[in-house]
Structures are given as C-alpha cells and as structure tokens.
C-alpha cells in the first residue's frame, strides 16, 4: 500500500515538474528575429567608423524605448570589430546639417551621410511597435524594431534585421498567490524596469550576429549584393552624368590645345597607361610653388563643387546636366594648364622630367588662324545629329555637322572671325530655340 502511494506521489511530482519545465520553456517571452548580414561586414575593422543614427519612431510615446534601444545598441556594439562614432558627435553633426528628423534619413543618400559624419557605415533603426496591454489578470508588452546598416562608400546593405519581442505576466505563468495574480500584471506593464530589461534582451539577441559576423551561416547571409535604393539611384545618376561628361569631353577633343597635349601623352606613356589621365601624378610641390598650377587646381575645385551641388538634390537631373554642359571651359582649362603627365615605365617608376609645356605654344604659333562657331549638340549616334541639323537648317540657320576623330557627331552653326559675333549668335539661339550651346574653335574651310 505504501509502495503504491509512493509510486503515485512520484508520478504526480514527475508530471508537475514536466509541466513546470514546459511552462518555463514555452510561456516565457516569445522572440522573432530575422537577421542577415553581408560578407563584406567582415571587412570592417577598427579603421572603419560606424555611426548609429537617431532612432525613428512613429509617435512620441515610443521615444523612451527609442532612447533605451539606441543606448543599448551603442553599448553592445562598442566592443565590435569596428569603431563607433560617439553619439554626441553624430547628433551634433546632424544638427549642424539640419538633419534632425530620423523619418527622413532613409531618403538621403548614404554617401551624403558619409561626408557629413565621416563614417564608413551608418545604422538606421526604427521602432515599429511598443505595445502594452493590461486585462486585470493578464498583461503583456510587445516590442518590434527594424534595423539596417549601410556602407556609405558603396551603398551596400551590410546588415538588416527585424525583431519582435513579446512577454507577459498572468495566469499562464502560475502566480504564487492571489495577491500576485492581481498585482503582477499591473507591475509588469507599469514598471519601466521591465521595458528596459526587454529592450536590453532584444538588443543582445539582435547584435549577436553583428558582433561576430564570422559566425553567420548560410541562412543568415545575403545571397546577393544588396545596394540601398537611394544609393543605387544616385550612383546611376553619377554614372549618367559621367557618361555625358565623357561625351562632351570627346566632343571637345578637336580643340587644338588638347590635341597637342594628348599627342604628347601618347608619345611618352606606354600603351597600358595611355588611357589614364596622369596629370595628377604627385606634383604637390609644383602645385604649391607655381602660381599657374595653383590657378588650375582652383579651377578644378570650382568645378567639383558645381557637380556636387548639382548632385545633392537629385530631383532635377536633366536641368543639372544642361547647366554642366553650359560651362565647358574648365574642362579645357584643366587639361591645358595642369602640368604634363609623367611617364610611368614598366617597372612602375615615375619619370618626373618629361614635361614639355613649350610644345603647346609651338603648335599654336604654326596653326592657321581659326574661326569661331556655335556648337549646339554632340552625339555618338549620327541620326540624332542629323535630326537636329535638319531642324536648324529648316529654320534658316547655317548649320552643319562635323565629326571628331573619336566619331562624335557635332552640330555647329556658322563660322565667325571674331568671338563677339559668335557670342551674339549663341545668345540668339539660346533665346529663340532654347538650345544650350557654347563657342568653340573650328578650322577654316
């Protein structure tokens, strides 16, 4: 009889313990974490700086959680492989640039953040949900966040994660008494410590992979290279602009000064480096010493700034491109006034004594006198050039088409002995036909 009672007691105890373990395992907080990293995350080191941007919230009630989350994120990532930009520096620099609304951060090109913050990568985060529910004997807290780390140098998404954390207090957790059954749910939703603990736990789980990206397995790694949308758009615009500049540069290559310089380069440089513009071979001492060179560098500075201001809004690109085309002079100025390129031999050593600035002048002195013309277009496709030519001819302009050595078809109007006359026509075309143009030189005949 005693044995039977003992067995029954043991069975009850066993079942009670099993039930408890089951409850501990399954009635605790629930977590849903989806996180993926890029292979390039491993290449970040202490030489790279990462900035954690202010957290986006959908309403002011989430701000407390956002502050805790950012603090936790910062503390957790402080011991990572990369260098973290201090919070007050991030906030200070963003304020200096009037970037105080985190909801607008995602529409800004990561490159822009790179220049503003001096950071190699930035972390965007958003609090999706902070929900507290209370129903007398049951209360719960649900938190949800999204996070993304983007490389400012490439726009590549290095890390992306979404996490939801849910915890509750109530009958399901077996209260230890009647009073606790009533008070525990109230305490659970009102005590800030619980929110803080949940946030801390959430950040721990969230950052586990980023702290040790080498532990990433197949299902936590991106299959392909992912580029942030804004970065893709802007990189494409830069490429388009460069393409256009390239075409214009080709269109301008008949300018004799440039031709002379290029011929010199072709003679001096070995074939494999011939396509590179080696005008920037370290000539710092010359740049600093020679006033002429300093002027040339300044001209470039102006030009670079122009491009950047055109790039920044990125909402009106065609207009920006037209403005760029309107001022071709710096292109020539750059090529003509920078010191001549240095020869790079097969050994990789530079030959610094091959500047031949006098050739340009010699060449100019032997040339027949050139005429001025108004160039209104340059195309790689002949049909486009012919189309514009036809339109202008119909309107009575003395338009004609020329072809450069690099097979660019240029549409030009009239020839003048003086630049003033050419400028008058250029002004007329701009006003009447709304055609951007510029004055260039042309061989007579």
């Amino acid at each position: 009889m005693t044995l039977i009672t003992s067995n029954i007691s043991r069975l009850i105890l066993h079942r009670a313990l099993s039930l408890l373990i089951f409850l501990v395992l399954f009635s605790g907080c629930a977590s849903n974490l989806q996180t993926k990293v890029a292979g390039n995350l491993n290449s970040l080191s202490k030489n790279q700086t990462v900035a954690i941007l202010p957290i986006e919230v959908s309403h002011s009630g989430q701000q407390e959680m956002a502050d805790m989350f950012r603090q936790g994120l910062y503390a957790n990532l402080k011991q990572s492989k990369f260098n973290l930009l201090e919070k007050y520096i991030v906030d200070g620099l963003l304020k200096q640039n009037d970037l105080t609304d985190p909801s607008g951060f995602l529409v800004i090109n990561p490159m822009q953040f790179g220049e503003i913050l001096g950071a190699d990568a930035i972390v965007f985060s958003r609090i999706n949900k902070v929900e507290r529910n209370y129903l007398i004997i049951h209360s719960s807290i649900e938190l949800s966040v999204s996070i993304q780390m983007v490389d400012t140098r490439t726009g590549e998404i290095l890390w992306r994660a979404e996490q939801t954390e849910h915890d509750f207090s109530g009958i399901g957790k077996i209260p230890t008494g009647i009073s606790t059954a009533l008070f525990a749910p109230i305490q659970f939703v009102t005590n800030k410590l619980n929110l803080s603990k949940m946030t801390s736990k959430m950040v721990d789980k969230l950052t586990a992979l980023i702290k040790k990206p080498e532990n990433a397995v197949a299902n936590t790694q991106f299959d392909d290279l992912l580029i942030a949308k804004k970065a893709t758009n802007d990189l494409n615009k830069i490429k388009e602009l460069q393409q256009l500049k390239s075409e214009w540069a080709q269109a301008l290559t008949l300018d004799e000064e440039v031709v002379v310089l290029q011929n010199d380069t072709a003679e001096e440089a070995p074939k494999e480096v011939a396509t590179l513009d080696n005008n920037l071979v370290p000539t710092a001492s010359k740049i600093a010493a020679e006033p002429k060179n300093r002027v040339a560098v300044n001209a470039v500075v102006h030009k670079v700034h122009d491009v950047e201001t055109e790039m920044a809004p990125l909402t009106d690109t065609p207009k920006a491109i037209e403005q760029k085309v309107e001022t071709p002079i710096p292109l020539n100025a750059l090529r003509a006034t920078l010191v001549a390129p240095h020869h790079i031999g097969n050994s990789g050593k530079t030959n610094r004594d091959k500047t031949k600035p006098s050739k340009k002048l010699l060449k100019n002195s032997t040339q027949p006198k050139k005429l001025y013309t108004v160039q209104v277009g340059a195309y790689k496709t002949k049909a486009y050039a012919q189309s514009l030519l036809g339109k202008l001819t119909k309107k009575g302009y003395n338009a004609f088409m020329t072809q450069s050595e690099k097979l660019v078809y240029r549409v030009q109007v009239d020839k003048f002995k003086t630049k003033e006359d050419a400028l008058k026509l250029a002004q007329g075309i701009r006003e009447k036909e709304n055609l951007k143009n510029f004055i260039t030189l042309i061989q007579p005949g």
Binding site: N47, Q48, A75, K87, L93, S169, S179
Partner: protein
C-alpha cells in the same frame, strides 16, 4: 473581512512590491563639482582598471567585466573616452599593472601618463552570486568616482549596490524557475547586473554633450582629385593617383569603394596629401568611387567622395 486579514494582505503586498523593486534601486550619485562654465568641463576621460576588494573566488573577474560594461555605456555620454586597451597600454608602459597601485597614483602622475582631463575609478566592494532552492541573487556593490586630473577635485562619486533578485516572493512560479536557470550562468548574471548598474549610473552622471555639439568639427577636405576619367576601364599595372587638399598635419588615406581601404596618402606640403594605388592582375572590383579621408588625433575622420570618375576594371584583363 476582518481588519487583521486586511492588514496581513496589505503587508504582503508592501513586501512584494519592495522585493519586486529591489533590483532597480536608483543610484545615489553625489555631484561635488558642477562646472557651470563649459570650458571647465573635463573633455577627455579615462576609465582606470577597477579594483576588487574581496578575493575573486569564482575566477570570473567581475570587476573587469564591470569595467568593460561601464565603459560601453559611459562612452555614450559626451566625453572623449580613451579606449580601455589604450589606457592599459599607457599604464603598462609607465610600469603600472596592479589596479590597486594605479588607483593610488596622484592626479598629477595620472595626468602625465594618460594625458586626459579626468579619470573614473572604481573599487568593487563586494560581489555575490547565489542560487539555491527558490532563491537566486546576483549583486555588485561598488564605490565609483570621477576625478578631475587638472585640479585633483572629485567631480562626483557614489557607493551603490545593484542586485538582481528572484525568490519566494516573486510574482510567478515560471519567473522563479527561469531566474534560477539564468542565475546559474554566473558570467551572464554578473554581466546583467553590471549592465543594470551602468544604466542606472548613466541616468545620474552629468552629460556634457550639449556643451560640445556646436563646436564639433570634422577634419575638412576642400578638394579631391584623381586621374580617373568617366568610363575608363582600368587594367593591371594602371595606377590610380589621388590628391587631397585639406587641413594640414593629419593622417590621410583613400578607399576604393569598400574593396580597398586605408591606402595611405603622404602629406607632401602642409594640407596637400598625395598617394597612389597600382592595379594588380588579381584585383577584382566592381565599379567603385574613390573616397578620400583625413583623420585627426582624436580619431575623427573627414571624408570626400570623388564623383568625376569611378574605378572600374576591364573584365577582359582581370582574373
């Protein structure tokens, strides 16, 4: 219901609430020197190695763990924090490795070694991790202070005991068991307590961030030039040259996208940095922008992207 039963119920509730809140005690931090003049605020701070009053029986080194955790949170405030490794290295170079001896050094000596405005030092008075039956607790008690090395004044100090507790008066059975399981992981339990300690401290430590926000300035780069041209395809042995103009006396380098980082630039004349990279046959790179960087002694970097051309490889010549 008799008054006795009401009294008993109320008493239990008070005890319960007391127990529940025991783990989240606020830090009683005493501000001894409150600099109203921002220029007097310490800017750079070093966190000295923490000392442990009692023998470390569990071989967990909770004081080291606490120091790292405290540093992680402290660096969120607006001070220029010397990295822990740098502090330890400097102290070691000066011949000091024992935390107790380091804490006893004069403020002049510490300033000479570390070259910072202030230090934070802590003495961990007691630590406790206990799990038994239905009672689990982990506690850290420490005295922490910030010392202005320029004047030798204590700026603030506190003695606080942070505890995470779970026991018979915990509200639910599941929580009691879960806390027991968690508390057995001693390292994690200390880390959790140290984290709570640090978070509570940060709420009280004066944050000078607002004093500096207006004057933050990154190294300035006024111009970046490269020899890249639009649509240029690079081949092996081609060399990318980069010239950078900006603040003088800094460390300059450039990146080719994220593919090749920290290629050094040499300052040829003050404010003018120059460098190059020669393409190797084995180099594989997609289209990348060139980014010039200048870094100052505080580790702050200024960046500028070269947008006139991109580095792209001729696929036919690379492997």
């Amino acid at each position: 219901m008799s008054p006795d039963r009401i009294y008993s119920f109320a008493k239990r509730c008070i005890v319960l609430v007391g127990i529940l809140l025991a783990g989240c005690g606020t830090v009683d931090l005493e501000i001894r020197q409150n600099h109203t003049n921002p220029s007097m605020q310490p800017r750079s701070v070093a966190i000295l190695p923490f000392t442990l009053q009692e023998p470390d029986l569990e071989k967990i080194s909770p004081h080291k763990l606490f120091r790292t955790c405290f540093y992680n949170y402290f660096s969120y405030l607006g001070y220029v924090d010397l990295p822990l490794e740098t502090i330890d290295k400097k102290l070691q170079q000066a011949g000091f490795t024992d935390p107790k001896k380091i804490s006893a050094l004069s403020h002049e000596k510490l300033r000479e070694i570390l070259n910072v405005d202030a230090i934070v030092r802590a003495n961990v008075l007691s630590v406790n991790n206990f799990t038994g039956g239905i009672h689990a607790e982990t506690a850290i008690k420490a005295k922490i202070e910030m010392l202005d090395l320029r004047t030798g004044d204590i700026l603030w100090d506190t003695e606080h005991r942070e505890m995470t507790y779970s026991g018979i008066l915990s509200p639910t059975l599941v929580e009691i068991i879960q806390d027991q399981i968690d508390n057995v992981k001693v390292h994690q339990a200390y880390l959790k307590t140290a984290e709570l300690f640090s978070i509570n401290m940060m709420r009280k430590i004066p944050d000078p961030a607002d004093n500096w926000k207006g004057e933050i300035r990154l190294p300035e780069i006024t111009q970046i030039e490269t020899n890249l041209k639009p649509n240029l395809k690079l081949k092996p042995n081609d060399r990318i040259y980069v010239n950078l103009k900006g603040d003088p006396g800094l460390t300059g380098y450039f990146d080719i996208g994220s593919w090749k980082s920290n290629i050094p630039l040499k300052e040829i004349v003050p404010g003018l940095y120059s460098g190059s990279y020669t393409i190797n046959a084995a180099d594989k790179v997609t289209i990348s922008l060139i980014i010039g960087t200048l870094r100052n002694k505080n580790g702050l970097t200024g960046k500028k992207f070269y947008k006139e051309g991109m580095a792209q490889f001729d696929a036919s010549t690379t492997h």
